[in-house]
Subunit: 631 residues, 2 copies
């Protein structure tokens, strides 16, 4: 089952062909479009990020255009373009045109485009790929250009970025006089594969392939580059090139390591490249890395990268809760990677992770009102960790925004005779199967309810396989086709129920996914979770917040037995299902002033309430925990 | 009970009047004298610390005499002097004379004595009391001089330090032209009180009083001093003067805060000063700080200061185990402070803490062979934390050495008609009671056995009260005087059994302290210890080491019920009592490759062994934990 295949069997249905009309995502996507997009524009404007493209900066002026800045504007343009694609808006269209004109005007005669290095340190262009972010920014600008072109049909930004990519291809490569460098922060690889698809220009694919293949080769480019700067390579602040997955050639990687966002972007790019070239070695590396992440290094939230020190990975089973770094961008990057893996093998293990990160680790990154953002996503808090309106290094806010604006693209995949449903979201997807239009409608109150009703709309009958994901968290699923029960035995493989038939217009599938509350335990190697339990219902991971449980959360204990009462509360946190149960709280009164004693704490009954993890820190500040001590 | 008293009711019996002839401490003190002292001398010599006093350093030379260095040599001289006092040794005496001559020769004509500032940055003398350590080094040199004088009767170093102290008194004070400064790292306060006692020169007491009273007054001296250096005080790397207990006048302190060693040295100095001046306010502050530490911030080991960031305190109940900083010096400093508090009120709460820190948090600081040292003393380790032969900042090795060399001084206190026994250590103490010699003999195998036999040796009968500590950990104590049982009801107050009578020569007291294994629980506010239990027997805290328990220690669970088998193992770790019990270990085999699942781990029986915490990391490297998950 785990042997590498490097051929894609599915293609994601673009978000432009997907309508989301549900109670969960539709309001979030609207908030993202109406509020978050506006706020992030204002931040880019007010912090000088937009003005930086005017190239008016003079030495001594504050603020100094930063090496990250272009990427923030790029992700905003990408997000704005996605919303334009689903919600035409002439004002936004015009605003984008103006910004793009500014970006275009900042391009240098040779094609180079970077507001920091053009203005602040022109002599340092391409001199420190290891620490600076030129190719990273270029990658985000390419993604933005593609999004804008696809949304509007305008080539205004796309042409600029093609010129930049063409220039980059002259600078980097194995030819004479070229630099054998590759990005310190990966991103451009996946962007170049996208650019190849949009332009059909193979040179972009070859450039991506060069960056992927050259990465980690010896002698290390970063060593030579440091020496050329007159620096001792040993002074590199992170000590090891595994920080950026460049300690060895990527085909040899077998352990997820280093900066988590960089890792996710690289692995996504590797999967892209494997899909283009059929490169089994690359895909094998992706599979090894996937297994390593999932078996040793992934938080229950779908968050990843526990350490602030390297914004990334440490060692197996090291998953501290309070100090979890778990950057929002890393969870977003994991969604990118999972979605790519899913096209090679329609396997629930990829979709399960994609769903987990989406509903939990990534979604927690933005407040319910769309105005504040987490950079770090701990699984426990003493009450002082809160979302912020923006960050100096502002990668996360526009990353979650571009994900939400294009969320429809993660729901379905298809090929000439299959439709695969990865996520259950009310609305529809519009496919072409055997050359004829097929619309698949979903009606569901997912993630709060496990009933999903799917209807086929097509002008005539169509032979095809409908693959419905049976989530890994689901212990009992039932399905009916036109009211007739489906024998699930044998029909479910790798987490998908395959329904192959000649579908008639208005054929209906009813799927019921049991959504009992589940107690989740961590492998005993995870020392941070020893003796603890977490609660999950459907795809939603729960947490305990002080707002609902006004005691110190360290007092709480959940007995091993006991039922949960489940209630949808429309007025709470934008509408959530809460879990309530009879637990225990340590009696504190009989401790007096003692710090230690020979008697264990006396338990008293305490009825507690759990709310979805993604919704935490949207009320008064207080403690939070995902993992609860089990009595 | 808690109202402040600022009169000492007891005086410690000097270590020179105490013989330690037991199976626990005597071999350790011998190792300290024979091995540690030698090693630390070699380190001081080989690292250039001794040579620094030659004042031969030239710009550009490596190593550069460091601002801490003098204190390391001083603590070595202090330790060597203590050993000389108990074990005359002409070679060592001569070596000391040579070193002292060198130190004396380094003194400047005005009395100043500091190898760093005299050679490296003479223009910066006294310009940064906040960050540098001139007065700290001076304090340690004063302690060394006193120890040397008391051991040998020679004034060679004492005179040098008196001159230095005299000079310091001209520099600092409230007089015209004087600096209103005080040390960034406290230490000189307690040293000056000692110097006052030895010399009977009140000026030293007044200087100590000045340093204590001036501390934390506004406007802040450190602000003014920074401005004088042309620096913005806001750039202070620790942000707050509570780092060095100087954010407010010391009389107003009520929360233990900042750098733990600095705090302990200051509080010790405050207690000293209160004892000299009868200053109730100072003593009240000491009492408040004592309560705060013991109720909120003390590890079960007697270690303190959880954070590496400030080498000190954070917030109440924040006692992480794996990342505990718990510097060895802080535990040593707590022993100093506790011993001082004990002289004001013969109360077991002070002696209990003193004993706890001594047998656990401080003693762990040195390896069984006396050759390696911990700076940090975590309560759990994944196997990578080990004692080191030395440190660039080498405060801990000579601190534990000087404590062990003078350990006898912590065993007894006395006044004209009382003898108080704080620690049970086989050997004897020689007192003068009502002007006549009284020798109190102890025979015991403490800390491995709770039976203590005390015999009075005196030429004639003596009226006095013998106060025997009934440790806080002891749930049942029995005492017999000359074979007749003592009615403990009412005779035990504040943790001491008072036996008032006319003692005849050879009167014998037998004390039996129950040493059942105790399960210790932390207050539920201590989130790091939730659901966990620790094991203690007598004063000895236990830990689980991988060396005895070759599985991952996170798998272990201790059932709530169950007996311990206790065995003294002569050949193990220098001779220790081990605890063994039937516990459980999580079965790992049925987890396969899963990181999370909905079934809790399956327990299997696992018989585990616990060893004393102080003895950990003396065998092959491995995991360690003090707190064990309770099943």
């Amino acid at each position: 089952m785990n042997s590498a295949v490097a051929n894609r069997v599915l293609t994601p249905l673009p978000f432009t062909a997907v309508k989301i009309e549900d109670i969960f995502w539709a309001p979030r996507i609207a908030t993202n479009r109406e509020r978050t997009l506006q706020i992030e524009y204002e931040q880019c404007r007010d912090t000088g990020r937009l003005d930086a493209f005017r190239l008016q900066w003079k030495p001594g002026q504050q603020p100094v255009p930063h090496i990250f800045w272009d990427s923030d504007v790029a992700k905003w343009v990408e997000t704005a373009s996605y919303t334009l694609a689903t919600h035409p808006n002439p004002v936004l269209d015009q605003l984008l045109d103006g910004i793009i004109a500014q970006i275009a005007a900042a391009q240098q005669p040779d094609g180079y485009l970077n507001t920091h290095f053009t203005q602040v340190e022109p002599e340092k262009r391409w001199t420190n790929l290891r620490d600076w972010h030129e190719l990273y920014c270029a990658g985000h600008l390419i993604e933005a250009a593609i999004a804008h072109y696809q949304a509007t049909g305008k080539r205004s930004l796309l042409d600029v970025l093609c010129r930049y990519a063409d220039y980059i291809a002259t600078v980097f490569g194995r030819g004479e006089g070229q630099k054998r460098g590759y990005p310190g922060h990966e991103e451009i690889e996946l962007a170049l594969v996208k650019l190849y698809h949009v332009t059909q220009e193979e040179k972009y694919l070859l450039l991506a392939q060069y960056f992927i293949d050259e990465r980690g080769q010896q002698p290390y480019y970063y060593d030579q580059e440091a020496l050329a700067r007159g620096e001792d390579p040993a002074t590199f602040f992170q000590k090891t090139y595994s920080y950026m997955q460049a300690d060895r050639p990527v085909r040899e990687l077998s352990e997820v390591a280093g900066h988590a966002v960089r890792a996710m972007y690289l692995y996504s790019g590797m999967a892209d490249m494997a899909g283009e070239t059929g490169d089994i070695e690359l895909m094998s590396a992706c599979n090894r890395l996937w297994d390593d992440l999932n078996q040793h290094k992934l938080y229950l939230t779908g968050g990843l990268g526990p350490s602030r020190h390297n914004e990334g990975f440490t060692f197996n089973y090291d998953l501290p809760n309070e100090t979890a770094y778990a950057e929002t961008c890393a969870a977003v990057g994991l969604i990118f990677w999972a979605q790519r893996m899913l096209q090679f093998r329609c396997d629930g293990r990829y979709a399960d992770v994609m769903e987990k990160a989406l509903y939990n680790g990534a979604l927690a990154g933005v407040s319910l009102d769309g105005e504040r953002f987490f950079y770090e996503n701990p699984l426990a808090s003493l009450g002082s960790h809160h979302r912020q309106p923006w960050f100096d290094c502002a990668c996360c806010p526009p990353n979650i925004a571009r994900l939400l604006a294009s969320l429809g693209g993660y729901v379905y995949s298809y090929n000439e005779n299959e439709i695969a449903v990865h996520l259950y979201v009310q609305g529809n997807g519009q496919f072409q199967i055997h050359g004829q239009p097929v619309t698949l409608h979903q009606a569901t109150e997912y993630p709060w309810d496990g009933k999903v009703s799917l209807t086929i709309e097509s002008p005539t009958a169509v032979d095809m396989t409908l693959k419905l994901r049976i989530p890994g968290w689901c212990q009992m699923a039932k399905a009916y086709v036109n009211g007739r029960v489906v024998d699930m035995q044998g029909a479910v493989q790798s987490g998908y129920l395959s329904l192959q038939r000649t579908w008639q217009p208005n054929d209906k599938v009813e799927l019921t996914l049991d959504m009992s509350v589940q107690r989740i335990y961590a492998r005993p190697d995870v020392r941070a979770d020893a003796g603890k339990v977490a609660l999950q219902r459907g795809p939603i991971l729960y947490c305990i917040e002080e707002a609902d449980n006004p005691i110190s959360l360290t007092y709480l204990r959940l007995p091993k037995e006991g039922k949960f009462s489940i209630r949808f509360e429309r007025g709470l946190l934008g509408g959530v299902v809460t879990l309530r149960a009879e637990g225990q709280a340590a009696l504190i009164e009989d401790w007096g002033k003692q710090l230690y004693r020979t008697q264990p704490s006396t338990p008293r009954p305490y009825r507690f309430t759990a709310v979805p993890y993604y919704a935490w820190d949207n009320r008064e500040p207080g403690q939070m925990t995902v993992w609860i001590q089990e009595a």
